[in-house]
Each structure stands twice: as structure tokens, then as C-alpha cells.
Amino acid sequence: MSEVLRVKNIEKYYGNKSNLTKAIDNISFSVQEGEFVGIMGASGSGKTTLLNCISTIDKVTAGNIMIQDQDITKLKGNHLNKFRSQELGFIFQDFNLLDTLTAYENIALALTIQKKNAKEIDERVKEMARKLGIVDILSKYPYQISGGQKQRVASARAMITEPKLVLADEPTGALDSKSARQLLENFEYLNKELKATILMVTHDAFTASYADRILFIKDGKIFNEIIKGEDSRKIFFEKIIEVVTLLGGELNDVI
């Protein structure tokens, strides 16, 4: 398996010289193709900053981020947009669907901005919808469907461009537990069947337990790393809880 993402000694500072905050303090890790990696941490630990840097929404202060041999910290302007639309897929906590567009159109949008031809777009949208079980809501507007369905539409939009890396930021954050479970099963399917490489940020242990490997971040540094391996999800979940307890404080009250 090849390496999809390689993060090398990145640092991110906020503020000025007299008052410097290190949001990310020398983090390095890599993600292999087909992996489902979770990043956990309390709020303020720097996990969202990390995701923003990888997703090219934010810029690092130092270090390199390689996505399949391309150093994205060197990209600028429109190359960034192009890179984002072609190589990355995004799933956000608040869905970020366009409320004026139907589900079908929201999914298609990811391809139209890549200037794909109409016939191909149509076919791919329908196929992806079938895989994610959202065929019957394709003609509905976001406000007509449930949160879980919205997040599946968002997943379809993220996946349809066949990105090298899918970045999910608290994907279950706005969902009830049943929808969350459904969505995570979808993620599993995307990961196992469609071979999607997923990098997911969450502070929910249950959500995290669906991943293959979890990185724990505290105060901008990698604190721990656990791998699911051959464990069942239940055992993996318990392991996660242990680490979370070790991390202490804030994270406990989230669970």
C-alpha cells in the first residue's frame, strides 16, 4: 500500500511575537492508502487546526504536508482550489450543503466545478446515490430531509470526485445516535468497499471506534496512537475510553 498523506514536522502558530500560541507543535504522521484514521482530542487541542492545514483551508507555519508526493504547503491561489476539488473530499459537521439546491444538484456540483461532461456527471451521481442508499431523496431539498440523510448526501458529494483523501470534521457532531450509527456504517462501506482513505476528526469515542487507527492530540502534540488491528469494535472502544481517561479532564464529560 502506498502512502497517501505524509505530515512532516508541521507547526502552526497564532498571534504575534509577544503572545505566541502554538496550535500545532511539531506533529508528524502518515496515512496509508485505504486507511480509516481518526484524530481525537479535546477542544482547543489543535485537531481542527490540523485538519484545516491538511485540507489547505489553513496554512502551516513550518513543516511539509505531502499528499501523494505533492507538497500542498507550496501550492497557491487557484492551484489550491483545483487541488482541493480534485484530490480532496470534505464532510463537515454542519453538512455545508447548499440549501437552494436539491440533493442531486449538491452532489453533482462537486463534478460540475471540475468541468466534467453532463452525461458522466449524471451517471456517477446516480451510482453514488445507489451505493449510499439515497436514491429516493435525490430530488429533495436539504430542508426536506433529515440530518443523517443530509450527511449522507454530503458524503456522496465528498466521494463522487474519487478523492485521494476524504477529510471528515466531526461528521456525527450534529446527528442523533441512530443517524450517527448509520452514517458511520456508510463510512465503513466507503472505506472497505470503495477503498476510500478517510481522515476523521472527532471527540466522540463511539464515532472514533469505527476507525482503524486513532491519533490522540493534546496541546498541539501527538499524545498517543492506538491501532484497532484484529480487535472487535467493542474492545477498541474500551481502549479508546482508557486513553481518553488518561488524557483526563475535559474529554470525559463529552462521552
Binding site: 476539488s85 437552494t100 444538484e105 456540483l109 460540475t112 466545478i113 430542508y143
Partner: protein, 690 residues
């Protein structure tokens, strides 16, 4: 403290306020310019007639100003209300911090006051300088020479502007206080969270209604242009209402229709951000239909008023030379007897005077006849048997139904061919010849010409005493005896010299001449002799009933009317244009801040900046161009109608130049607002954090 807050607020919301402020400044400046016209015209070297016309024009302009201030008042209240709504959250925060509604109102009063004073100040300065340019235009329009440039300032107009706008701002303050008092804290705080529900319309309903609106519009267009002659006042009003209604329907259903249309063509629909733009437009149209309809109708009025007025002015100036071939015309009715039109008996003296010619009366009144040269005197006849009814013959009944208001019992004016040819030679008009039993109808008044032509086509004969005459031509010929600023000869019949007309049939005596002078100045001197008090007293002593027109008076009247029409049209046109453009601009700008989130999503999923700008351009462009396009289609028919209506005065000529001028005018103002909106919106949606 509150004052400081107001200033800070204004600085902060400068982006929102720029267009509003600029529109206010423009409004003030234009208001001042048009109301200060009298001070510019006052120093012009124009004659008495022209001065009277300028007075009339000023009267009309100040009347129009009231109307204009109502429109501007609406605009200001609307725009202001709009800006207040955008700041709900801000007020919510003030209120949670313990500020009372009264204090918030005070902040708003301060702001309105500041904006008011600033816009008045800047607007007046702009107006005062603008009016200097205006005086150049005035001089040109009144064809007067401006010997030296004088900087004018009209304190009257300045005070008037302040009062009118002061009242408007006062209204805004009251309105604001009222609006604030109705707000609830929870609504204020949640204002930004509340997203506009996307109202759904059945696309099929849209398609059907779209087709209905097109049909209704076509029907209205057909009625006012093709069946113009049959339309009654009430029907016309109904058609205007129908036009406005179908305009509304058109905008209401348009986006749904286009959406359906484009959706069926996947290639276009799934291209770049096309579907995003279409959906945005479709979602917005619900809240915009009303303003779009009003804007479309205002643009339509602007186009028609401007083109028609410019064309009127143009034709008035151009037709003059042809219509006034000599310097002086005078005529009187001969052989009066009985009572006049109002039923009063004619005086002895007047009856006596009506037995002699115009020239004889002039001599009796001791006018030096050597002031005239190229004198031509002609006499026309009329007999009771030949009225309009008889000359129309068989088509009379039909025409009477169509034009019931025309008086068909008036005897027609008849002239012998050699007499008329004397006039034609003097005027450089076409001379005619007729055979023993032929007649010709002279008529250059379009509407009447159409009626008379119908009779002539049927070879309608007339009977003059015991002789029958046949028309020589199947249509009316151009020509006239008295000069006027328009083609208003309703009809004169030319008969052979040997026609059985006697002294008793005489009806009018004409005296046509040039002044015995060469330069303009000398001609004015001659004219002043004719207008002199002593001559007038002498004529009054004779109780002479002579009508006279001169080239100079016709010219001055035409120039005055042309200028008046042009000024009023430009005034209204600018106000209509800036009002509608400002409403659109403000609406679009606020939409853009609402849409910022959507554009952010587009960016997050990796949309190209260029594509986003293109989508924004398209979105704003659609909202600016749609009302204009429909207004243009309306104008095509509206102008046809206006041409026909105004042809009653025969003032509308070639429309090409006026339409080009109008187009330039609209492109400058409307286009300016469009660009300002686009760049403003681009700024608003500009990425801020990445």
C-alpha cells in the same frame, strides 16, 4: 456616547451605505439643478415670449419636483428600512447590554441626521457645480448666446432642496423609531440564524403561467398598437393594468420556466455553476418579484418619456424651416354677420371691418406697409353645402363611428387654384393644376389625412352649386396657407378658377409677407413695430379681428416647448433610473451578504475563484438585465403607441437618434449601478480567512 456610536456604525457599515449615500447625493444634486434652472435662464438674452415660456417651464418643473420628491421619499424610506433590517443583530446586542429602545432610536436618529446633513451638503455642492454645466445646455436649448460665463447660485432652489429633503429625512426618522419599537429582543438576536425558507413553486405551474403572461402581454401590445384607433379611454386603462399585471406574472414565473427549460438541457444545466446560479435566482425571485415589476415599469416609463421627449424636441427644431417659409402671416374672417361662437352679436365696427382685407385694415390702422415685402394676399371661400360630411361622402357613417367627437358640420375652406399657387410660389411649395371638373384636398395633419384619404380613394365627388367635381388625386396633398409650429392643416379644397364662387361666398382673407429686412436684428425691429402699442390701439379702435403669427414667435414657442419637454423628461428619467437602480443595487448587495455562506461552501469544496466571480456576475447581471429587457420590449410597443398619440400634434419624427441617446443615458446610469453592485458584492463575498 450615542453620537460616537453612530459615527462608528457608519464607518463600519460603510459598504452597505455607499450606494445609498451616493444615491442620496445624486438625488439632492439633481433636485437642486432642476429647481435652480430659473436663475440660469434669468440672465439669458431671450425675448418676452421665451421668458413667459421659461416661467411656464419653471412652474411645471416645480410641480414635477413634488412628484419626484414623493418617489425619492419612497426610495429613501425603503432603502433605510432595508439597512435597518440588516442590523437587527447589532441592535439585539445593544439591547442585551441593557440599552433601551429609546436609546437605539436615538442612535438611528443621529445616524439619519449625519447621513442627511452629509448627503445634503455634498449633494448641494455637486448640484451647484452641475448646474453650471446645465447652463451651457440651457443656452444651447434656447439657442441663445452666452456672452460670458457667470457662476450662478440659486438660494431659492437651495432652500427648497433643504426643506424637501429635510422632510424626507424626518419621515425616515419617524419610520425608524416606529420600526425599532416593534422589534422583540429574541427576534433581533436570532435574525441572522433565521434563514429564508426556500418557497417551492411547481415548475409546471410556472411554465403555464409564463405562457399565460406572454399571451396577455401580446394581447395588450396588439390592442394598443394595432387597434389603436378603436381603443377607448377605459380600454386603454384596462390594457395598462393588464400590462402591469402580466409583467408581474412574467417575473413570477420566469425563473421557474427558465429552470425547467435549462434542466431539460443537461449539458447547460450541469455546466460549471450554472445550476447554482439558476437555483439562486429561482429562490430569490419570490422576494423580488414586486420590486422587479416596479423597476421594470419605471424603466419602461424612462425609456418612453426620454425617447419621446428628445424626439419631440428634435422634430420641433428641425421642422421649423419648412413650416415657417415667410416672416409674417395675418388673416381675418370676412363678411361677418350675426353672432359669434359664444352667441354674442358682432359689433357694428367689427362687421364694418370684416368687409375689408387685412392689408386695408393695416393701412387704416396706420401701419407703415413698407416694412413688408413679397406680399401675397389671397381670399378663400366656403359654402354651406360643402361640409366635412359631404366631402367624406360614403365613408362618413363609418368615420363618424370611429371618431364621434369631430364636428362634421363645419363648412370646408375652398380656394381657387391660381390663388393657392400664389401662396405655393411664395412658400416654395408644390404648385397644382386642376382640370375643369377636378378638385384637390390639401391636408398635412396626419390623423385627418387618414380620414380624408378614405373618401378620396372612393372617388367621392363634391357638388359646388350646380357643378360636380371629382378628386384629381386619390389622397390628400401636402400644403398649407397659415404657418404654425406643426403640420396642422386640417383640410383645404382646391377648385378650378372658373368654379361658381361669388363675392358672397368669401370667408377668409390672408395676408402673407416677408419683413423688409435682412438681419435678425432688423427683423426683430420690424416685429416690434407690429407689436407696438400705437398700432395695437389703432386696430382695437377699428375693432378689427385679425389673427397673426410670425416666424419669430413660432420659433420661440417651439424652442421653449422643446426645452420644457426635454428638461422635464430628463429630470423624471434620471430620478426614475437612479431610484430603480438603487433599489436593485441595495437588494443585491444585501443578498450577497446573505449568500456569503453559500459562496464559502463553494470555496470549501474547491471551486475556482474565477468560476465564483462568474457566478456572482451572472446572478447580479440577471437581476439587472431582466427588468431592462422586458422594459425594452414594452417600450417597442409603448413608443409605437406614443408615436400615434403624439402624431395628434405631429411632433414625433425619426426615433433613431433619441433612442440612441436614451440608451447611452441608461447604460451610463444603470450600468454604473450594476458595476458598483458587482464590485461591492465581490468585496462582500471575498474570502477572509483562507
Amino acid at each position: 456616547m450615542l453620537f460616537k456610536l453612530s459615527i462608528h456604525n457608519m464607518k463600519k457599515s460603510f459598504k452597505d451605505y455607499t450606494i445609498y449615500f451616493l444615491t442620496l447625493v445624486l438625488g439632492v444634486a439633481i433636485f437642486y439643478i432642476f429647481n435652480s434652472l430659473d436663475s440660469q435662464t434669468a440672465m439669458l438674452e431671450v425675448s418676452q415670449t421665451a421668458h413667459e415660456l421659461i416661467d411656464l417651464m419653471m412652474g411645471m418643473l416645480s410641480g414635477v419636483s413634488v412628484f419626484v420628491s414623493i418617489i425619492l421619499g419612497f426610495l429613501i424610506v425603503y432603502a433605510n428600512n432595508f439597512l435597518i433590517k440588516r442590523r437587527k443583530k447589532e441592535f439585539g446586542i445593544y439591547m442585551t447590554l441593557g440599552m433601551g429602545k429609546r436609546s437605539i432610536s436615538k442612535i438611528l436618529v443621529c445616524e439619519t441626521l449625519l447621513i442627511g446633513i452629509l448627503s445634503l451638503g455634498v449633494g448641494l455642492i455637486l448640484g451647484i457645480f452641475g448646474s453650471q454645466f446645465m447652463s451651457v445646455l440651457v443656452t444651447k436649448l434656447f439657442q441663445s448666446d452666452m456672452s460670458e460665463f457667470i457662476f450662478t447660485f440659486s438660494s431659492g432652489a437651495c432652500i427648497k432642496t433643504m426643506i424637501y429633503f429635510g422632510i424626507m429625512y424626518l419621515l425616515v426618522m419617524i419610520f425608524n423609531t416606529f420600526t425599532i419599537s416593534r422589534y422583540k429582543l429574541i427576534d433581533l438576536l436570532n435574525a441572522s440564524k433565521h434563514t429564508e425558507k426556500v418557497k417551492l413553486k411547481s415548475t409546471w405551474l410556472s411554465v403555464i403561467l409564463f405562457i399565460v403572461s406572454i399571451l396577455l402581454l401580446s394581447f395588450a401590445y396588439y390592442k394598443v398598437t394595432q387597434e389603436f384607433t378603436k381603443i377607448t379611454q377605459n380600454e386603454l386603462m384596462a390594457m395598462i393594468a393588464l400590462g402591469a399585471f402580466s409583467t408581474f406574472l412574467f417575473f413570477w414565473s420566469l425563473s421557474g420556466f427558465i429552470l425547467k427549460l435549462v434542466q431539460s438541457c443537461k449539458k447547460v444545466y450541469l455546466k460549471e455553476l450554472n445550476m447554482f446560479v439558476l437555483r439562486q435566482t429561482n429562490a430569490k425571485i419570490n422576494t423580488t418579484v414586486c420590486s422587479m415589476t416596479i423597476i421594470c415599469l419605471m424603466l419602461f416609463l424612462t425609456i418612453v418619456i426620454l425617447s419621446a421627449a428628445l424626439s419631440t424636441n428634435y422634430t420641433l427644431q428641425n421642422g421649423m424651416a419648412e413650416l415657417t417659409p415667410v416672416d409674417f402671416n395675418a388673416y381675418k374672417t370676412l363678411d361677418l354677420s350675426g353672432e359669434d361662437y359664444y352667441g354674442n352679436a358682432y359689433s357694428e365696427k367689427r362687421i364694418e371691418d370684416s368687409k375689408i382685407s387685412v392689408a386695408e385694415s393695416f393701412e387704416k390702422a396706420k401701419l407703415d406697409m413698407s416694412i413688408f415685402k413679397d406680399v401675397v394676399e389671397v381670399t378663400t371661400y366656403a359654402i354651406n353645402d360643402i361640409t366635412m360630411q359631404t366631402t367624406l361622402g360614403e365613408v362618413f357613417e363609418e368615420i363618424k363611428q370611429e371618431f364621434p367627437t369631430v364636428d362634421y358640420d363645419i363648412a370646408e375652406e375652398i380656394i381657387t387654384v391660381s390663388e393657392y399657387n400664389k401662396v405655393a410660389r411664395l412658400y416654395h411649395l408644390q404648385e397644382f393644376s386642376v382640370e375643369e371638373n377636378e378638385y384637390i384636398v390639401l391636408c398635412d395633419y396626419q390623423n385627418m389625412k387618414q380620414i380624408r384619404d378614405k373618401a378620396l380613394e372612393l372617388n367621392t365627388t363634391i357638388r359646388l352649386k350646380d357643378k360636380t367635381y371629382y378628386p384629381k388625386y386619390q389622397e390628400c396633398q401636402d400644403g398649407f396657407i397659415t404657418m404654425s409650429s406643426n403640420h396642422i392643416n386640417m383640410g383645404i379644397i382646391i377648385v378650378p378658377d372658373n368654379a361658381p364662387l361669388t363675392e358672397n361666398d368669401r370667408v377668409k382673407n390672408y395676408f402673407l409677407a416677408n419683413y423688409n429686412a435682412t438681419t435678425d436684428k432688423e427683423k426683430h425691429e420690424v416685429e416690434n413695430m407690429i407689436l407696438s402699442d400705437s398700432f395695437e390701439q389703432n386696430l382695437t379702435a377699428l375693432d378689427s379681428d385679425i389673427d397673426a403669427v410670425s416666424k419669430i414667435t413660432i420659433y420661440e414657442a417651439a424652442i421653449g416647448i422643446g426645452a420644457m419637454v426635454t428638461f422635464i423628461a430628463i429630470y423624471l428619467g434620471i430620478i426614475f433610473l437612479i431610484s430603480s437602480a438603487a433599489i436593485l443595487a441595495l437588494k443585491e448587495l444585501s443578498e450577497s451578504s446573505d449568500n456569503k455562506e453559500r459562496y464559502d461552501i463553494l470555496r470549501k469544496i474547491g471551486t475556482d475563484e474565477k468560476m465564483i466571480h462568474k457566478a456572482l456576475f451572472l446572478q447580479i447581471g440577471i437581476f439587472f438585465i431582466l427588468p431592462l429587457l422586458l422594459a425594452m420590449v414594452h417600450s417597442i410597443f409603448g413608443l409605437q403607441f406614443a408615436t400615434k398619440i403624439l402624431s395628434t400634434f405631429d411632433n414625433i419624427g425619426d426615433l433613431t437618434l433619441p433612442i440612441i441617446l436614451t440608451a447611452i443615458f441608461i447604460i451610463l446610469i444603470y450600468g454604473g449601478y450594476f458595476l458598483a453592485t458587482y464590485f461591492g458584492s465581490k468585496n462582500i463575498i471575498k474570502e477572509c480567512n483562507y
